[in-house]
């Protein structure tokens, strides 16, 4: 129990001294902090008073009260992808930001869940990575891949955030233009729970750690869209016989047209159009064309090769919505 004796003595000792009050009215440094006062901070408070009596003026300084700030566990997760990330044969890269919104240093466990209600397909989580060079772009070989069993952020100082990449591949059943979402959840390693849950001795500086309003767990969704391409090959033939009609008689020339149509929002790479020369016919030298442009028969600088063994035209990478047409002719023996 405190009596007034101690303050009384103190007051007597500094009677008439107004410097105490003046020094305490000096501006205090305002340490505004988005996530609150740092864990371990001591909040100290002292008041002063001045007064007059018939015997003169007096001043008094109060006792000091101190409370210690405990560690608050809070986290925020947001997606940095403004549009759905594109998944082709290469994985989609979803970008999230994980922020320590608590007031003490904390690491957060990460979990990516591809099963989200409303998904047209559920992607396959290939890997999680941290944006080591903090450029917001996934750089293979540069950004740290997280290993299974250690999916976590490094220890983040209060208010600090880290960008997390989630690499998602398409499942077999996904069709072009279908969309899907992946949920990234970050949870404080010290613990989670309803706000106010306390972890004794787990706080910064040996104090308690207390779960904040975020429950020390947060998540965010990021979307991806499948970008695939399909190939349809259509073969047609026209016949011109020596008599100017279209009868398949010996000596007639059959012109084959092979239309390679790539559809979808994606593209196909490494495309070749290959055909053989039908039995009973002979390749017409110099008849090979790609999109009406003549190709030489020899294996040389152009895209095509033609001869008795067949034709082979290299198309390479073709974007969706493009049709490439290969034409060659044979003569009926």
């Amino acid at each position: 129990m405190n009596t007034y004796l101690t303050p009384l003595r103190r007051a007597a000792g500094i009677a008439g001294c107004s410097i105490v009050a003046l020094s305490l009215t000096a501006p205090l440094a305002q340490t505004a902090h988005a996530t609150g006062v740092l864990a371990g901070t001591l909040i100290e408070n002292t008041a002063t008073a001045t007064y007059e009596t018939g015997a003169g003026t007096g001043s008094v300084t109060s006792n000091k009260v101190t409370v210690k700030v405990d560690e608050l566990l809070d986290v925020a997760v947001s997606t940095l992808s403004t549009a759905p990330a594109t998944a082709t044969s290469a994985p989609a890269v979803l970008v999230y930001s994980v922020t320590n919104s608590g007031n003490g240093p904390e690491a957060f466990n990460l979990a990516a869940d591809p099963k989200v209600s409303g998904n047209a397909f559920d992607g396959t989580i290939k890997s999680l990575a941290l944006d080591s060079n903090n450029n917001g772009v996934y750089d293979p070989g540069v950004d740290t891949l997280l290993t299974a069993g250690a999916l976590a952020t490094p220890v983040l100082a209060p208010d600090k955030s880290v960008k997390v990449f989630v690499l998602v591949t398409l499942p077999a059943g996904a069709a072009d233009a279908q969309t899907s979402q992946v949920r990234l959840t970050a949870t404080a390693q010290t613990g989670t729970g309803t706000p106010g849950t306390s972890f004794t001795g787990k706080g910064e500086g040996g104090g308690d750690a207390v779960v904040g309003l975020t429950t020390a767990s947060a998540n965010s969704l990021a979307g991806l869209v499948a970008s695939l391409a399909n190939l349809t090959l259509t073969k047609s033939a026209t016949i011109l016989d020596p008599f100017g009609t279209a009868k398949p008689v010996p000596g007639a020339v059959v012109t084959y047209s092979l239309a390679a149509k790539v559809s979808g929002s994606g593209s196909l790479d490494g495309l070749h159009v290959i055909d053989t020369i039908p039995d009973g016919t002979t390749y017409v030298p110099g008849s090979l064309k790609l999109d009406a442009a003549a190709l030489t028969d020899a294996a040389d600088g152009d895209a095509g090769v033609g001869g008795a063994s067949g034709i082979d035209v290299t198309l390479g990478k073709i974007a969706g919505g493009t049709t490439k047409t290969v034409v060659f002719a044979v003569k009926i023996n």
Binding site: L28, G36, V37, N45, A49, Y51, D70
Partner: protein, 170 residues
């Protein structure tokens, strides 16, 4: 020696009674204390944490002695004064710089003067202005308060009282 101890504890118990009374308690004669320390008005501060407890669907506010707090906790600071001297104290001005880690709660110190510039100028909060980030003046808010001040016109010998304000851990 024994007598002295008895007097001290008597003074203490009377002081505690005064503390338990509401703000600006009526004068109480404490001849023992006034005989010991003439012409002195004490000032004591204490802090409690306001916890809202819900029991059987009914919410009530409890004041608990805080060992530790977390950002967002509501604090109640109480300043208690006591005129232990034999003369009336006039123009008793209590000044409390807000700890930098504590925000004055909205309407947390009603009716008294505050400062938003480190104690240089004073006034009622709704009359004060601060400079916004764009350089223009704006009305001060509770969050801008740096100091709080209370003036008690006169404290009779032996009288006690208290003032309170509410803060929030930033």
């Amino acid at each position: 020696m024994n007598v002295s101890i008895l007097v001290k504890s008597l003074a203490g118990s009377i002081a505690m009674m005064a503390m338990a009374s509401p703000a600006l308690a009526a004068a109480q004669a404490t001849p023992a204390a006034s005989a010991q320390a003439p012409a002195a008005v004490s000032l004591k501060i204490d802090v409690m944490i306001e916890k809202t407890v819900t029991e059987n669907g009914v919410s009530k506010v409890q004041l608990v002695d805080p060992k530790v707090v977390v950002p967002g906790d509501k604090l109640v600071y109480t300043l208690r004064y006591h005129n232990a001297g034999g003369l009336p104290a006039v123009n008793y001005v209590m000044t409390n710089p807000l700890p930098s880690a504590v925000l004055l709660a909205p309407d947390g110190a009603p009716g008294t003067d505050v400062s938003v510039d480190g104690g240089k100028t004073w006034g009622k909060l709704d009359a004060l202005k601060v400079t916004a980030t764009d350089g223009s003046p704006r009305a001060a808010a509770a969050a801008d308060v740096t100091h709080i001040r209370w003036t008690i016109a006169q404290i009779a010998p032996g009288a006690s009282g208290e003032v309170q304000y509410h803060g929030i851990v930033r």
